[in-house]
Amino acid sequence: MLGLLARRLAAALPTLAGVVVVTFVMTRALPGDPAAYFAGPAATREAVEEIRRQLGLDQPLWVQFGRYLADLARGDLGVSITTGQPVLSDIAQRLPASAELTLLGLLIAAGFGIPMGVAAALRPNSWVDHLCRVVATAGVSLPTFFTGLLLVYVFYYLLGWAPAPLGRLDAFSSPPPHVTGFHLIDSALAGDGETFLAAAAQLVLPALTLGIFALAPIARMTRGAMLAVMSSDFIRAARASGLAGRTIVIRYALRNALLPVVTTLGMVLSFLLGANVLVEKVFAWPGIGSYAVEALIASDYVPVQGFVMTMAALYVALNLLIDLAYQAIDPRVRIEA
């Protein structure tokens, strides 16, 4: 298994290399004066020249790339003009907020999407099947930011069930002692029920928004995979053995159907990480998405670059995890590899 892990890591390296090159190219080789970007809109001409010297932007490109790599190795992603902090520490501080939100969104999407897809596949042309197909089509048609706003309008303004979309905690609660940065986990660990509920209440709508968005492809894929598996020879053979319906559906069919669903997760994650940015803006969520958006608005480009880099690295790592999960489920890949 370790050998497999090492092999997969090695395979991910060219991808990471590509990411590094692209992010470098994005800020140096594209039209415009990079020094002006990094100096910010309020900079004077002297300040821009100063930045140019400081960041070595007057050096030939390959020298700049070398510096870039060296900085990356040191974990130096530059300094943000708006916060004055190193970008890396800004991102590290805000990452848990985004991670908690995205993870919860994914759990909601899978938690509803997979059973929905299974139910739709088991009862073709029933109301469940039609619902699943409508959800799947509507889900990919809805703009995430719009869904979020709709939810806020209905559940906060009209019904008053949800709290104001003002971030991770309401005005009266304070964050729990920091262990993971995930408010739900940290408050649970500290035994602080009130904070747990407050954090959960704030999480509901944004996580639901993300969940609805990711639900569509997951439900659609599960339905398709289950339909294919249920008509396969070994399912017929299992029924010929008189195995109970539940055994057949879950132990025999679903496990096989989950394989293509797991491979879809990579694509779902790509969408989720992008949708995250939009949801964070709607709900004033203090994650890395809103960090990047705030920096963009202030024409502060270093954080944006760091953000893109971080997201890409995260995405590569998550894809690796998905790949490993697939191998854990499918013995054919594991053993034959």
Partner: protein, 279 residues
């Protein structure tokens, strides 16, 4: 069965697809004739700010007293136009690249494959953000960025199709008749690949619309006071919590309608072109 009668047959069987074509016609009308037909000037503010929908203002007015209905209709041209430009661009480049890669194989295939893999290593919306931020916050750059992030899927589909047809009879015949590689590729393979790529166009139009709207929602691309669905939702977002729902809702619904139409149309076109791929 001719192509047209086949298409008509599928449409008759599938009223939903027929509906999507009607909706598309409606959107096209709004995009082309909208600015001439709307009751108010989309940029003209008035003192009737934040007025709810009424007979006078069908979709209400926004915080500057502008008529939301007029703005939504006029914005159709911009939103569809941007998405269409992006898709047209990627359709041409992606198809050519994919067909070349699939037909020639070898080194070309590897290079183009590496290119698509590198693009796909990023969460696509994030990449678009980064590209627009780096290249400059203009409409043109939003179009380019949207095209770039859709490149992999076009290249892949075109490559697969070209691969399948590479060794087909009619291709062999053309080759044997002495046609050059380029002629065979462009004259024989490409026309056969086009129908499937057209389906892809309809499917990604929806995605492109969402993308450009998403980028303008966070401030990239179109700037106020221009009427565009994404920034209209952004402008209306702040008023949701105080109950003025119409400012954000109508542009959002327009977005939904447009994307939905293209998705349905894409599914319908796919059924016409290649019924084996129905889900």
């Amino acid at each position: 069965m001719s192509a047209l009668s086949h298409a008509r047959h599928v449409l008759a069987e599938n009223p939903v697809t027929a509906l999507s074509f009607c909706l598309f016609a409606l959107l096209a009308l709004a995009a082309l004739a909208g600015p001439a037909l709307v009751p108010y000037d989309p940029l003209a503010s008035s003192d009737r700010a934040l007025a709810p929908p009424s007979a006078l203002h069908w979709f209400g007015t926004d915080n500057l007293g502008r008529d939301v209905f007029s703005r939504v209709v006029v914005a159709t041209r911009l939103d569809l136009g941007m998405a269409f430009a992006a898709v047209a661009l990627v359709f041409v480049t992606g198809t050519l690249a994919g067909v070349t890669a699939g037909f020639l194989g070898g080194w070309t295939d590897r290079v183009i494959g590496r290119l698509t893999d590198t693009i796909m290593a990023f969460p696509l919306f994030v990449l678009a953000m980064g590209l627009v931020a780096a290249a400059g916050n203009t409409v043109a750059n939003v179009v380019y960025a949207t095209a770039i992030i859709n490149f992999p899927i076009y290249a892949r589909v075109a490559r697969t199709e070209a691969n399948i047809r590479r060794d087909a009879g009619f291709v062999e015949a053309a080759r044997l008749a002495g046609a050059s590689t380029a002629t065979v590729m462009l004259g024989e393979v490409l026309p056969n690949v086009l129908p499937i790529m057209m389906v892809q166009v309809s499917l990604t139009m929806g995605y492109a619309i969402l993308n450009t709207a998403g980028l303008s929602f966070i401030g990239l691309g179109i700037r106020p006071p221009t009427a565009e669905w994404g920034i209209m939702v952004a402008e209306g977002a702040g008023y949701i919590v105080s109950g003025e729902w119409w400012i954000a809702l109508f542009p959002g619904l327009a977005l939904m309608l447009a994307v939905f139409t293209f998705n349905l149309m894409g599914d319908g076109l796919r059924d016409i072109v290649d019924p084996r791929r129905r889900t």
